[in-house]
Each structure stands twice: as C-alpha cells, then as structure tokens.
C-alpha cells in the first residue's frame, strides 16, 4: 500500500463502520476499512427485521436502515474501503498482510489497528448432534441469508435448536413466508434471547418453545427427515424415555455466537476464555499496543447499538494512538467478576475517568442488586443471562474511592429466584 494508513479497521460490519467514523472524527487522516465480503455492512443487510437503533438513534430501524446511516456517514467523512480483501495475518507490531483478487498481496503497517471482525455462529459440529449428515442442517444466520438476500427457502418444515435472537427471528420470518416451524428447542431453563422476541416471534405465531430440551438425533439420508428431541436433566444430559420425534426437512442451529479471533491470536492478543474475545482496557486497547477491538469480536452483544458505541470508543482511542505513537494503558484497576457475574468488559479501567461496564449474569433472578465495589449499586427488577447488564461509573466516584488493584462486581438477589 503506497500511502500511510493511520487507522486500519478489520471488518465492515456495524463495529467496523462505527470505529472508522469515530477514528476520522478524532482526527485520523487516513482511515481504511478492510472487508472480506463484497459489500459494507457485515450482517446488517440480511437483518431485515426492526429493533435496531432504539438506543442509538432513538428510532426503531431495520438492519439495512441502520447500516445505511453509518455507511453514509463513513463515506461523507472520506473513510476508505477495500472490499473483497481478506486479512490473512496480523503480527505483534501491527503489520497487516491482506490479499484480494484485484490487488493481490498487500503488506502494510498502519498507525493503529481496530479489530472489528464480529462473531460467527456455533455450528452443528460445534454442538455435536449425533445422527446422519443429510442436507437441511444449517445455522440460523445462513438460513437468514438464503431467505432475506438470495431468495431461497431452504425447507418447508423446521425445527430450531437454540432460542437465541436470530433463531427466534428466523422462526417468525419462516412462518410469515409460509413454512411451518414445529418447535424452538432450548437446552437451558430460560430462553436465550430477548423477551420481546420470545413474545413477538414465537407466541404471536403459536410456535412452541421447548425449554430444558435438546435435539439428540438427526434423521434422514439425503435430506433431513426429522429430529429426536429429549428433555434434559439439571446437568443438561438427555433424560432417557423422554424422546419425542419431530418430522421436519430443516434443522436450524441457533446455539450461540463465538467472537472471531483467529487474527487476534496471530498477533498474540491475550484472550478472555469466558467472553472468547480480547482482554481490553477502558480504551478497548488489547494486550498488544496499538491494537484495539470493539463490538462482537470483544463480547457478543444483544443490541447493535452497544456494538456501535463500543467500537466508537475503540476507534477514537486508535486515532489517538496513531497520532501520538502510544497511548498510556487505561488499566490501573482490574475489574473482577464476583458473585453471579459471568464476565465484565472492559477487563481493566483507569479508575479516574467515566466508564461503562458491560456484564452478563450467570443465573437469572428477581430483585437483583448489582454492586461495583462500594462505588455504585444499582437495582434491577430482574436479571437474565440473555440480557446484558450495563453499569455507568463516574470518574469522580472512582477517584474518590481510590481503588487499588481491583474492583469486584457482584450481583446479589434480594429475594425470589
């Protein structure tokens, strides 16, 4: 690449677009987004449903509408893009190796890098469902692409494994397109997605949600002919004698998302085994100086609005790094997940500036109080693992507390369960 790149953003989904915009607004001159697909927007073009932007724009938008607002802004700010270009390596000195059919092999070292690769779906192989290997087993996101972009209906009768948001949204979409969705099967005792999706995607159409159940066998030779669904016990093992068969020609797997961090690993970025994403400080800087990360590559969010906000923080900090050649790690205090908290992002904070903590609880419960050390305690009527808990801490309060070393975040239940 001939000219110097100040900030290189890997991925052009909602995170990449927001990071690039923020980096430009922060003063980075040349901001380049590298995207392996043939268009910008990541997965947003296929998310034709509404529910996007309720927080960010205070408007109920569809995926394509949300995407369009960000693309228009990025273009007006002169963000450059390289489409159909795959980053195949990132080293610990921010050296990027990328290839594309049009430009061939490229190597360059930008002033800073923002990782915005998003996440991918857990597949049949990853959840290990026994049975034959017929056609008709696909992830919910792949099915979404077929139905909403390509114009194919992959089947007529469906079972959905996993009650994540994409699975439930696809159950509704397929029903509206005339297919029959026999059931959504969820291994946990609670649904995996947002309550509004449970109501508006499943209840509205009378689609059964089978909790504490899983698919234990896929039947069919050439094509899926049906699946066996079993109840599971408290250890989530199938209970013998509870088998029920569901004839279907398609099984959609919607069993969770995994942050996509192959490149991060190559660069030697430290990863958090719980989130599956990089360990980041308040600026979303990873353990490799000058490499930042934002959006679903860091933690799987339930709302795109938070993806955009998180990536903006990464983009701003990346621009500052590119300008100064360094950025003091905002990592004086380690944030530790305590009682009933699965993880907290960011992993470290400065302890001086305002910061937003994102976290997920391990167990659902009623009347919860989430406490960040002695600094802030916030009451919630209920908490669920599927709905992210957000806590805003004020710099003043943090300074006053004079934190040394760590800040533990706990979630206590005041009653019920």
């Amino acid at each position: 690449m001939a000219s110097r790149v100040d900030v290189a953003v890997i991925g052009a989904g909602p995170a990449g677009l927001a990071a690039a915009i923020a980096a430009r607004e922060q003063g980075a001159e040349k901001v380049l987004i590298i995207e392996r697909a043939e268009q910008l927007g990541g997965l947003l073009p296929q998310c034709i449903h509404n529910g996007f932007g309720l927080l960010y724009f205070e408007q109920d938008m569809t995926g394509p509408e949300y995407e369009k607002a960000f693309i228009a802004k990025a273009m007006s700010l002169g963000v450059e893009t390289r489409l159909e270009t795959m980053v195949i390596d990132l080293d610990a000195e921010r050296g990027i190796t990328a290839v594309s059919r049009k430009h061939g092999y490229m190597r360059f070292k930008p002033g800073a890098v923002v990782l915005a690769m998003g996440c991918r779906e857990r597949s049949r192989g990853a959840v290990g469902i026994p049975g034959t290997r017929p056609a008709g087993v696909l992830t919910a996101g792949t099915c979404q692409r077929f139905v909403n972009i390509e114009g194919y209906m992959p089947g007529t009768r469906y079972v959905v494994l996993g009650s994540g948001d994409i699975g439930m949204i696809m159950a509704r979409r397929l029903t509206l397109e005339g297919a029959k969705v026999e059931a959504v099967v969820e291994i946990m005792p609670w649904p995996g997605g947002l309550i509004r999706n449970e109501v508006q995607c499943l209840h509205d159409f009378g689609i059964p949600l089978l909790l504490e159940s899983t698919v234990t066998f896929i039947h069919g030779e050439e094509r899926v002919e049906g699946v066996t669904v079993c109840r599971v016990d408290a250890e989530r093992r199938p209970v013998e004698g509870t088998e029920k068969s569901y004839p279907c020609d398609c099984l959609l797997v919607s069993a969770g998302l995994i942050p996509e961090n192959e490149l991060s690993r190559k660069a030697g970025v430290e990863l958090d085994p719980v989130t599956g994403g990089p360990v980041v400080d308040q600026n979303r800087q990873t353990s490799v100086p000058g490499v930042f990360a934002g959006g679903n590559v860091v933690q799987v969010h339930d709302l795109v609005d938070w993806v955009s906000w998180e990536a903006e923080a990464a983009g701003r900090a990346a621009a500052r790094f590119a300008d100064k050649g360094e950025l003091k790690a905002a990592a004086g205090v380690r944030v530790m997940p305590g009682d009933n908290i699965k993880y907290v992002v960011p992993h470290t904070i400065s302890g001086r500036e305002d910061v937003t903590l994102h976290m997920r609880v391990t167990q659902p419960g009623l009347k919860a109080t989430v406490k960040a050390g002695g600094i802030l305690s916030k009451r919630f009527r209920s908490v669920r693992p599927s709905e992210m808990v957000v806590l805003d801490l004020k710099g003043e309060a943090l300074k006053e507390a004079g934190l040394k070393g760590e800040l533990v975040v706990d979630c206590e239940m005041r009653g019920g369960g």
């Binding site: 073009p45 034709i48 569809t62 394509p64 309550i195 449970e198 209840h203 509205d204 009527r381 669920r384």
Partner: protein, 127 residues
C-alpha cells in the same frame, strides 16, 4: 370471549405474565401479575390494540439483487400480518428504488404504507 387472557409484558427482562380478568361483557375488570405501572399500561394497550411492525422482502426479478427489503411505515394489527405478507409476494417493483420509497400505499387498508428499507439502484447503478 374468554374470561381470562394472559399477556407477557415485554417492557423489561422480567417478562411478567399478566392475567387479564374480564367481566361477562368482556370489559377489563382487573390485572394480575404486573410488577409495575408501565407493565399494566403495556398490557392494556396490547389487549386493545396488539400491533407490530411487519418486515419482509419483495421480489425484484434482478439476479444481482433478488429481494428488496421492506417494512410497514406504521405498526399494524397482528391479525393483518399474514394478509400483508401475501401482498408482498404479489407486488411488482421497478428500479431505481430508494430506502423510504413507498412500494404500496395503505397496504390492505391497514393505514400503513409498505416502504423500502434499502436502495435498489437497478442494473445501471453500482451496488
């Protein structure tokens, strides 16, 4: 009319199951199970007027862009979702289309328009 109906509130992760108690004439006589005032308001509205935004696609006949995503400009009664879906399969669109363009006015007399949510420049434009 059923004397009892259960509506799940979607206002927060709690997801209160609210039982609506109706008298013989079908008037709401009381609500049971809502933890907060906003929840009661939601349930009464949902009972009277259960509306949803419909999102779908319409076929374009363009190989490079087979489907144009669309939505209703307003929320429509949920009982009208299916009839409007049938219309989305029938409608013919011609490029160029811009996000926000009306594809069908007052679709199925819902009072809502069917509007495009993405641009479709057509074969002359660069996607």
């Amino acid at each position: 009319m059923a004397p009892k109906e259960t509506i799940i509130c979607i206002g927060c992760p709690l997801g209160c199951r609210v039982t609506v108690i109706q008298d013989k004439k079908g008037n709401v006589a009381g609500l049971k199970g809502a933890e907060c005032k906003q929840g009661q308001k939601y349930v009464l509205e949902e009972l009277k007027n259960p509306v949803r935004t419909l999102t779908a696609t319409v076929p374009t006949g363009d190989e490079g862009f087979p489907l144009l995503p669309v939505r209703t400009s307003l929320s429509i009664l949920k009982t009208l979702l299916k009839p409007v879906m049938v219309e989305t399969a029938r409608v013919k669109v011609k490029p160029p289309v811009k996000a926000g363009d009306v594809i069908l006015k007052n679709v199925k007399r819902t009072g809502a328009d069917l509007i495009a949510t993405a641009d479709w420049p057509g074969s002359t434009g660069e996607g």
